[in-house]
Symmetry: C2
Subunit: 361 residues, 2 copies
């Protein structure tokens, strides 16, 4: 009988944040691919496009004019999925037809006045400005709303309709599914083990860096990059091929709790992660990413010690700039499945240069 090798043999892994499993099938990377290939991302983006509604000084479809902004710029989405007001929803006591109110707002945040730049190509000062603005928006919206979701859809493949570097901020009166589930399991873990789940998790991942452990089968390396305040790793339960989790070394509940130094180090880790991503397939690497922390609004006065602020990167590419992982039939109807192990993905990302390929001389 063969000995189990996690990098060779199929198995399922558990995500303790969501109580979900992922099927890991490392042998599957051997299959040939004859399916859809993606168009390479548009490389020729002009620095300023007079027709792009996100550029400084341009008029948006609703007639509003952007200022000549020089750093970040935030405005309310012209077609928001969440509006600040809506008529009250009648209560229903039928368990099968439950409907509830949803109030909120959706903002768009430009990272930089130029369209032909991306986070890894921006300076540390510029990305720090982005972090500061994320925090300012989160604080302001968090006064009123229970959840403020900062997220970035990057690349046409991720439904991003505009190449200008930007993200979105959707605030809602309700706690959405993903953070609600994570809230539940983090709370349960703290009650049972006396420490926040993601604190324990990071400690154990860092311990596994100890050389003698790293050599053993059960302790492979999942770390990708780090600095004095943050660690980026492929989580043990990663679903997307090159998924990353960004964790603070200190117990921080919300992005707004970061010190000025830590904000700069968060900008640094964002640049490190996106640089390695771009270098992996030498392309403008698409992803959806976002930040999760303790809920806000009324939750600001509740006990949220079970929460740990963290970032999540969910990139779709699998084999090359043109071949993505499709999360379809089996994944939608049964369970997520991945074709390379988190450890293999981490190794690939560690092997990438920390210098962006466009900045090599």
């Amino acid at each position: 009988q063969q000995v189990f090798q996690p990098d060779e043999h199929q198995h399922i892994r558990y995500n303790p944040l969501k109580a979900e499993w992922v099927l890991v099938s490392p042998h599957r990377c051997k299959r040939p691919w004859s399916g859809q290939v993606e168009k390479p991302a548009e490389e020729e983006v002009p620095p300023h496009d007079p027709n792009n509604p996100l550029c400084p000084g341009n008029t948006r479809p609703n007639g509003k004019v952007n200022p000549n902004y020089e750093s970040t710029y935030v405005f309310t989405n012209d077609f928001p999925a969440l509006l600040e007001e809506a008529p009250p929803v009648p209560k229903s006591d039928n368990p099968l037809f439950q409907c509830a109110p949803a109030l909120g707002t959706c903002r768009v945040m430009c990272f930089h006045p130029r369209s032909d730049i991306t986070l890894p190509l921006m300076t540390l000062d510029e990305v720090t400005k982005v972090v500061e603005r994320w925090i300012a928006e989160s604080i302001e919206l968090g006064l009123k709303y229970r959840w403020v979701q900062v997220f970035e859809n990057k690349g046409a493949i991720m439904g991003c309709s505009n190449p200008h570097p930007h993200c979105q901020i959707w605030a809602s009166s309700f706690l959405p599914n993903e953070p609600r589930v994570k809230d539940h399991y983090q709370r349960q873990y703290l009650a049972k083990h006396g420490r926040p789940l993601l604190r324990d998790y990071l400690d154990q991942e860092l311990q596994k860096k100890v050389p003698q452990l790293a050599a053993s089968v059960t302790a492979p390396e999942r770390l990708v990059c780090e600095n004095a305040s943050f660690v980026a790793l492929v989580p043990y339960w990663a679903v997307w091929p090159f998924e990353l989790l960004v964790l603070p070394r200190r117990h921080v509940l919300r992005m707004a709790d970061l010190t000025a130094d830590e904000q700069r180090l968060l900008a640094d880790i964002v640049r490190q992660v996106t640089t390695r991503y771009d270098n992996l397939f030498r392309c403008n690497f698409p992803y959806s990413m976002g930040w999760h922390g303790a809920p806000t609004g009324e939750a600001m006065s509740e006990d949220c010690q079970h929460w740990v602020f963290h970032g999540i990167y969910l990139p779709p590419l699998l084999r090359s700039a043109a071949v993505k992982k499709f999360m379809v039939g089996y994944e939608m109807l049964a369970q997520a499945q991945r074709d390379l192990t988190p450890e293999q993905a981490a190794q690939r990302l560690r092997d990438c240069s920390p210098v962006h390929y466009k900045l090599e001389q």
Copy 2:
């Protein structure tokens, strides 16, 4: 103050099968779209392609030769995500690094010898053969495995690498996430209400067809098509724009429990659904779909009365044959969001002709 209109005003709806919410933002359909458009599906598929590994008589990449099959044809996937054997997985008592065994098999099932045909263009007899084969495979694999997932990825947009009409059947030793969660909430509902969740749900949807109820705001129509044994409807909690749920009128636990007449009627409803789908945007409509019923294997001797056999269609298109709904940033990190109500989607599908556009003379 305005009165709440579910077709006008944003709200969230609850999926009692999964304890998840969906954000419904009907006003959002007004936004312009300048994002990625999909290539139209290849319309010129030859009936037989000597290089297509799914066609009768052809040699597959692994050297095996397909028989000259004349109806359905099933073989084990040459690059399966699940293998029947793997070394035993060592037990872990660390709650953050849980790994468990996964055994199974993956089969491919061709629906028809011709590549240039799809389910709505096949005859009722031919689709009935497909249903019979789904059942035969589910029974055989269900003897050994706890879960048998029959699913179809249709279209390049759904990661389907081959235009030949086919589906897949993945059997596993474990109950995957989706059915595990549905098992839990169906069990809970039966214990609390004394009836299976999806039986109650269908009854209430059918009652809402009563004209006086249908006129009221809280009882809109979600039914799309039906026959003597099955109903296809857009569920109240639908996530994908034109998602459909297929339910049996009788309490059936598993597809294998269908009588010969019902099997034919299941084939009929499959043809009805896929015909309306193709007619919606006059294209070869892409989707992922699959069947869920009570678990198998050892669960065959357990009490599964809380289960109701059902089919799920998850199609990605939103506005046209070329514009899909992207389930990205907010959806991945926070909560699913939809731009038209389930009732509006049902109306659109009801308005489609029951005769396939390619069969009109």
